[in-house]
């Protein structure tokens, strides 16, 4: 059973096609990454899923039925554009948003209190939103999107602007949700997070799907053809090497893709001749590299 199914969904503004015949499904209980560079159409896609805008063409099914507004009571949405009523007390705000999602005021209050204890902000419930730091506001909004215990959770850049401690706090909550069988959609361009959390992904560029499927399978498809090298000295020669098909310098280390048929041991000898190698590791390509390569290819 799919939580959401998009079938050839299309949305254009004026002459600009934001989403171009996009299709994907998210299985119930899966953590799904909707990836893509800035302006690829991630937010436009999400907005159609939750009925803020209407697709020009194609169908969207949610919980196995054609989209209907009442399904939204089972959806929790954290938009990328964060916003709360600044002059409103935090607790009142959470109760209000909970009520809009169909909760009774009492239930909403109870849940808001227990969530705020969990996310270590219970001392701030009586404050006005404008008195809170950005990170705290983000936690409030995070709570607001989960207050009504939704079955489908949509998170648009959920960790943006959070310090590592709070980011990991939220990540743990989301993993807990996954264990409870909730379906989670991440929209992000932060690949490291996706790699840690997602079961499957859809990578979109210019409104089109350019890569999708099970994350492990995708990575396996690229094989262990990547080498991560840490060294001292000038590594620029690697860019010219016939053994290397692509090259990425991350500052502290470089990641290269072996050219078809190239021998990794030969590359190691080449590198060792010219610099002091402290690490040389054969590995699957990182999602980031797959991302960059796929996007470059589809742009070309």
């Amino acid at each position: 059973m799919y939580t959401i199914e998009l079938n050839k969904v299309r949305k254009s503004y004026d002459n600009f096609v934001a989403v171009d015949d996009l299709s994907f499904n998210i299985e119930e209980g899966a953590v799904f990454g909707l990836l893509g560079p800035n302006g690829a159409g991630k937010t436009s896609t999400i907005r159609m899923m939750i009925g803020i805008t209407v697709p020009d063409a194609g169908q969207i099914q949610m919980f196995g039925e054609p989209f209907a507004r009442k399904s939204l009571q089972r959806v929790g949405y954290l938009p990328e554009e964060r916003g709360l009523y600044k002059k409103m007390k935090v607790i009142d705000q959470l109760i209000f948003l909970g009520q809009l999602h169909g909760l009774e005021a009492g239930t909403a209050r109870q849940r808001a209190v227990s969530w705020s204890e969990k996310l270590e902000i219970s001392g701030w419930l009586q404050k006005k939103v404008e008195e809170l730091s950005k990170g705290m506001q983000q936690k409030i909004q995070f709570i607001a999107s989960l207050l009504h215990d939704p079955d489908f959770i949509i998170m648009d850049e959920p960790f943006g602007g959070l310090d590592p401690i709070n980011a990991s706090l939220l990540k743990d909550v989301l993993l807990e949700m996954k264990q409870k069988g909730k379906t989670i959609l991440f929209s992000t361009h932060r690949m490291d997070q996706v790699e840690k959390l997602c079961d499957s992904i859809c990578l979109i560029n210019r409104g089109k799907s350019v890569l999708q499927g099970d994350l492990k399978q995708i990575k396996a498809r690229y094989g262990k053809n990547n080498v991560q090298i840490e060294y001292q000295g000038d590594g620029n020669f690697l860019q010219q090497s016939r053994l290397v098909s692509s090259y990425n310098n991350y500052g502290n280390y470089v990641e290269v893709r072996l050219a078809p048929g190239a021998d990794s041991q030969q590359l190691l000898r080449e590198v060792a001749e010219r610099s002091r190698v402290s690490k040389f590791e054969l590995m699957e390509p990182s999602l980031e590299e797959i991302f960059i390569e796929t996007v470059d290819k589809s742009d070309a």
């Binding site: 907005r47 009925g51 803020i52 507004r69 939204l72 949405y77 948003l97 809009l100 999602h101």
Partner: protein, 425 residues
């Protein structure tokens, strides 16, 4: 509907709880009181009782002027009545029959030295020339001068008639003002035209002011929603029309609460006056007016709030809104201009059509109903039906503008773009 209610309630509670609301609730009546009551309070205080001297060669003339000045309220035109009431007890008047230049210089010196407040120099020459000098330090005291002048005129007329040999009763009869009653061809007229006129004008002004004031509050509420960037969360649960309706109802209810507080307070404070006033009003304000004032007030209020909400949805900041706000206020201003004509003649074709056209109907249909008891029911019904239809259509239209407009930041939309939004959504 639940969402509309929730949004409206939030809007209402958040606004009513602010210090700003409390301040405005107290401040506005305070200001009104200040503007209306303070000057007259100050005037009474400052003037206290005024000491005048009436100088005339003819003792009888001088005494007649004195009598008129000291006379309490007299029946006649309403407005002058009020002046008399305020002024009557305020004068103490001495009579002087020495009209030599020496006496004149001496009395003027007294005025200058603040021993006297005024000197009315009613010599035979001055009376014959129909122009009597009045020496006072305050040459621009309009109300005061009107009272003195009127007393002078009446005294002089009375003196002339006396000299013709008429008796006191005959003179009273001759000087009695004649009333006129305005009737339409059907022979019906308001029982008290001036008061009706004033009452209608006040009601129309209340309507106009509240719509302008609270309407722009709706606009601000929508802009706030945009600048706080919360609408994406809101739209993921409530649709644009619900949000729109909730905002308008919530902010509107705040306005009505404030007006309610003022009305009740005024009512309680002036209860004794009100009971007496009710008798007067009974003849002036018909049952129709009592029924239709709230009807057209609410319709007008909702209509213009919806328009303001649309402006709010189109703009990114209040400053941008200020410019467009003018467009929304235009029909209101046009209403007031047409109103001036309707007040003179509630039965012209312009009055008819303007009172049915939805954007001008709230003010003008109400005015017609109040002034002209013969307005056919079908016209009233048509006006109300058109208003309701317009409000409904505008809400949907504005909801569309809102839905797209709020998701686009940064750029001020052009008219073609707005039309496109309406089509898209």
């Amino acid at each position: 509907m639940r969402n509309v209610f929730l949004i409206a309630r939030r809007e209402y509670l958040e606004r009513v709880r602010t210090k700003g609301f409390l301040f405005m609730t107290i401040f506005i009546p305070g200001l009104m009181f200040g503007v209306i009551a303070l000057p007259s309070v100050i005037a009474t205080r400052m003037s206290g009782s005024k000491h005048l001297v009436v100088a005339a060669a003819d003792l009888q003339t001088a005494q007649l002027i004195r009598e008129e000045l000291l006379k309490p309220a007299q029946s006649g035109s309403k407005t002058l009545d009020e002046r008399d009431q305020a002024g009557a007890s305020r004068y103490s008047v001495d009579v002087e029959t020495d009209v030599t230049d020496g006496a004149r210089a001496r009395l003027i010196a007294k005025v200058k030295a603040k021993q006297l407040d005024g000197l009315l120099w009613a010599t035979d020459d001055a009376l014959a020339a129909n122009k009597v000098p009045y020496f006072t330090r305050d040459v621009s005291g309009l109300i005061d001068h009107a009272v003195v002048q009127q007393s002078l005129s009446r005294a002089v007329h009375r003196r002339i008639l006396q000299e013709k040999g008429l008796s006191g009763n005959e003179i009273d009869a001759a000087l009695k003002p004649v009333d006129m009653e305005a009737l339409n061809p059907a022979g019906i007229g308001p029982s008290n035209p001036v008061t009706t006129f004033v009452a209608v004008l006040i009601m129309v002004m209340i309507m106009y002011m509240t719509v302008l004031f609270y309407g722009s509050n709706v606009m601000r509420a929508i802009v706030e929603e945009k600048t706080s960037r919360i609408m994406e969360v809101m739209l993921s649960t409530a649709n644009a029309n619900e949000t729109m309706a909730g905002k308008i109802l919530g902010v509107g209810a705040v306005g009505l609460t404030q007006i309610g507080i003022w009305t009740v307070t005024t009512g309680v404070l002036s209860a004794p006056g009100l009971i007496a006033g009710a008798e007067v009003l009974k003849g002036v304000v018909s049952l129709k007016v009592v029924i239709f004032f709230p009807v057209f007030f609410l319709l007008g209020f909702t209509l213009f709030s919806t328009l303001y909400a649309a402006v709010g949805a189109m703009v990114n900041s209040e400053q941008e809104g200020q410019q467009l706000q003018f467009l929304v206020a235009m029909p209101l201003i046009a209403s007031v201009i047409i109103l001036l004509q309707v007040l003179q003649n509630p039965a012209t074709p312009l009055a008819l059509w303007a009172s049915i056209f939805p954007l001008t109907a709230p003010l003008l249909m109400f005015t017609r109903i109040a002034l002209d008891p013969t307005v056919p029911s079908w016209q009233i019904a048509a006006s109300i039906a058109l208003l309701l239809a317009t409000i409904y259509g505008l809400m949907i239209l504005c909801g569309r503008i809102y839905r797209i407009g709020i998701l686009m930041y940064g750029k001020k939309p052009t008219l073609p773009e707005i039309l496109k939004w309406i089509k898209y959504a």
